[in-house]
């Protein structure tokens, strides 16, 4: 399935885009999708991103479904 993934901050800069579409297998988890995204980013970016599915933090083991809004969340720096 095609999954559109939102990117932010250093991740978006590294890719030169604020979203990317990856080709994930049915039943792919959040970690699987993250790995696919990271393969596209070849420059150094801050480590340890989290993944959100539909605007909620997701465990790496959570399964991604077609149409989900998936986002890579680099270490946050608000406040």
């Amino acid at each position: 399935m095609k999954v559109r993934v939102l990117l932010f901050a250093s991740y978006a800069d590294a890719l030169g885009a604020d979203s990317v579409v990856v080709d994930a297998q049915d039943g792919a988890t959040a970690s699987d999708v993250l790995a696919l995204v990271q393969r596209r980013i070849t420059v150094p970016v801050p480590p340890r991103p989290m993944v959100a599915i539909n605007a909620t933090y997701a465990e790496g083991s959570e399964v991604v479904r077609e149409g989900d809004e998936v986002a890579v969340i680099p270490p946050v720096a608000g406040g």
Binding site: F8, A9, P46, A55, P75, V76, A77, G78
Partner: protein, 150 residues
């Protein structure tokens, strides 16, 4: 209980936040403001650009306000986070908590800012006086305990 959270793209007004939480049942109001410093990690900063995953940042910010208000019975919580380019001295975050008692009001305000820093998807790109820019990675600041993130 009352809990309001807002992402804004205009200056944060400390008076307005204070008035918004004011209540004659509350004897204590704590306000916290985070402002743009001229120095971070030893580098001269000229401004900071705040970006967010807006939909999620709004819901996380509201969740934090709700959780804190629920933990401290009768608390009145308002939190605003500003987005966009901020100059030195501008407030990026404003938190006001009114409560019957001072300890609860102070603890609640502190919890709000600590939680924001842990989980709200907002990022900042520092602009330095030397013309460069960099996304701030707070996971690195442990190495500079004396100079890290505010």
């Amino acid at each position: 209980m009352s809990a309001v959270a807002r992402l804004v793209d205009r200056p944060i007004d400390v008076s307005a936040l204070t008035r918004e939480v004011a209540d004659v049942g509350c004897g204590a109001t704590t306000v916290f403001l985070g402002t743009v410093r001229d120095l971070n990690d030893g580098r001269a900063v000229s401004g900071i650009d705040y970006k967010s995953y807006e939909r999620m940042a709004a819901s996380e910010l509201q969740a934090i306000a709700d959780e804190v208000a629920a933990r401290h019975q009768g608390a009145r919580v308002v939190v605003e986070h500003r987005l966009g380019y901020l100059e030195l001295g501008d407030a990026s975050v404003g938190i006001a908590v009114a409560h019957a008692r001072r300890a609860a009001s102070m603890d609640a305000a502190r919890t709000v800012i600590e939680e924001i820093k842990k989980r709200v998807p907002i990022w900042k790109r520092e602009h330095y006086v030397d013309g460069t820019r960099e996304w701030v990675d707070p996971t690195k600041s442990v190495a500079h305990p004396g100079q890290g993130d505010r």
